[in-house]
Symmetry: none
């Protein structure tokens, strides 16, 4: 907050450009054979050379010891304290499948589940039904009519789907409604309970939809019932362009990241394919139009989630070769290379470890200079860097400072 107040009050016009290169899940853990992390083991001559001209540090996405989801981790990189700004799960789930969510929509994450003859839950995930089965059920659920409201039902994966309610008649929907999932077995689902007066009418519509859905599902064991969780609307986050004074573009190939960027008002650039080379082309094609580029690389995280150390290192090597020189060739004024969180292949999941981060600008004080040792971009090098261990939410203000886009505070 205070931070937005400063960046709002102090922002000045400039011609400078900032690139935020985010390798998803970049941070890792050492492998047994030589004690190197994925990033340290990767052969990255371009990043290492850049590190020698940059400041290094370790970014904390949410708080020490806390493992972030992708939504909070990206909000943090964009300067939004994820403990203050909350994107509801329903909204994140909708963004994650590329659903074109509108500001007045209410979105929920749906889970198919199994109930017994008394309606008590026996499997909260319906035996993890195949996605194909999910897709067939979703088609059936699309027939449910809710008075005055347009509904969308979209499959996600296995037992997960998304429900979106869109008001059609000038009415407003409210989403302060509790989950129906009791989070335990042997009891029936809960009703969708409104948590405030305003949400009462919407909760009734939701409960009507649920009743109709359960009627349709009852013969489709093991997916013979469902729960809704995380009912939410677009949280109306402050707009990135306004709080930082930047024309901002997002370059990403996965829906979730495009969705979060869109929520805060970034333009999402079209990318011709799935490869980082396509993303580089998208940046090159719009270089003149924006001040700030969020450049997202997904495959580091996927490899980490798969527990594939070598593949993660290989993705980093590919970024080093195919992305880093191309970005430098654009002559940005500030280049930050980081991740949204760590995804060590040793853990096969997101983790709480702070994220190796490199900040280069014309006005940085390179850590690698003056005999501080061979330059390298890696977790341990970053642990000795002059950015220290710092909140990831500081990255945007640092970038603005280095881009000469903030005037003096006080006289």
């Amino acid at each position: 907050m205070a931070n937005f107040k400063l960046t709002r009050d102090l922002q000045i016009q400039a011609q400078t450009k900032i690139i935020h290169l985010v390798m998803d899940g970049l941070g890792g853990l050492p492998r047994a054979e030589d004690g190197k992390t994925e990033l340290e083991a990767a052969h990255t001559p371009n990043l290492d050379a850049l590190a020698g001209r940059s400041q290094l540090g370790l970014a904390v996405p949410v708080a020490p010891g806390i493992t972030p989801g992708s939504g909070p981790a990206h909000l943090s990189l964009f300067g939004y304290d994820p403990l203050e700004y909350d994107i509801g799960r329903g909204v994140l789930e909708a963004l994650g499948i590329g659903f074109d969510l509108q500001p007045e929509d209410v979105a929920a994450r749906g889970n198919f589940c199994t109930v017994d003859e008394e309606g008590r839950i026996t499997d909260r995930r319906a035996g993890r039904i195949p996605t194909e089965f999910n897709e067939k059920l979703v088609v059936l659920l699309r027939d449910i009519k809710v008075p005055g409201v347009q509904t969308f039902v979209e499959p996600v994966k296995e037992y997960r789907f998304v429900l979106v309610l869109r008001p059609t008649e000038g009415q407003t929907l409210y989403a302060n409604i509790a989950d129906t999932d009791p989070q335990k077995l042997g009891v029936p689902p809960l009703p969708a309970e409104p948590q405030d007066e305003a949400s009462k009418a919407t909760a009734e519509l939701v409960n009507g939809w649920i009743a109709a859905a359960r009627e349709i599902l009852k013969d489709h064991h093991p997916a013979n019932s469902l729960n809704l969780r995380g009912l939410a609307k677009d949280p109306g986050l402050p707009k990135f362009g306004e709080v930082f004074g930047l024309r901002a573009a997002a370059i990403a190939t996965y829906p979730m990241y495009k969705g979060v960027a869109k929520l805060i008002g970034m333009d999402v650039l079209p990318v011709a394919g799935e490869d980082v080379e396509d993303e580089v082309e998208a940046l090159r094609g719009h270089w003149a139009d924006y001040d700030y580029f969020f450049f997202h690389v997904k495959k580091t995280d996927s490899a980490g989630e798969d527990g594939d150390f070598d593949r993660k290192a290989a993705v980093i090597e590919h970024v080093d070769e195919a992305v880093v020189p191309a970005l430098l060739q654009m002559e940005p004024d500030v280049l930050i290379v980081t991740g949204d969180h760590s995804t060590p292949s040793a853990l096969k999941s997101h983790s709480w470890h702070p994220v190796p981060t490199l900040l280069w600008s014309h006005y940085c004080r390179p850590d690698g200079a003056l005999g501080a040792g061979g330059a390298e971009f890696g977790e341990r090098a970053c642990g000795r860097g002059s950015l220290g261990v710092f909140p990831a939410t500081d990255e945007m203000a640092l970038a603005l400072g280095h881009a000469l886009r903030l005037t003096k505070y006080g006289a």
Copy 2:
């Protein structure tokens, strides 16, 4: 606040003495030829030897990426969060010229400006008139009478002056009054608009003064009108002596720094001349009388503002030779060497870069020990130091701890 609560509750009496040596604008940026900053390039055998027995770190004056003015930067060093405690511009401007501001005074920064025949501003700085012209106009403005209020008008530089209103008849003045400067051309100045009920009467007096002043100025093109900005009173900051339990003295040669120190209740020691040697003499002469000495060196900043790398390095070398050994000879218990902010000669201005800081005490854990390499006081050495990257507002509590002036928190 939390910080003051701790230092208020835990402070204990002791005989220990703290020196806070502040080289204004100390932090710099590397020069091209050898990648060294001003501080790194300076030959500083005394500071380097001291660094070997000290802890090092990088102090953040306001927030990451934020460039501080001198007022906020000094408040921060004195332990006052500059985002919480605000000294208005009018007050800072008055302090900057050494005006003896009283707690009930209202001070404003004045700018002479040029207006056309319809009263619309055509130059907000009146063509940057010479200071001598300013001084003549100020003499004319001193004739304006404001009922029940004593007025002071003092020239600053070029188009800038200070107006101070001092209540004389037991009345109270309030300064929540908007600037008259519309910050653009082609429109007339704004009235001095009160922002709350209490400030209404004062705003009327101010507007009366402005009308009379414009009548006097109308034939003095290009300074044929004026604006007032930053109307403010002494913000009534908590007193340094009380929040830290220290008898505190300020040693400085420039009015602004003496003024800020005075605002928080420090005694401002007389200094016989403009040189650091004079400041050392002032400290020596009052060594027995105080527990804490703020020792300010101005010329590092001036050289940085002038973009003169070599002169800035030379000032640092002079401090190393003429100040550091003399201070050590006094046998302080704690010596902190730092700056209020960075003023890299490469930028010719204040900057956001964190400030190299050295803390020596009998009870510090020297970074230079254990083969950490040749000791040096410089930005990069501080970037590897055990104080880390820390808020400058922490320095006072650290100093008190190292001076054995705080008792245990809790049992």
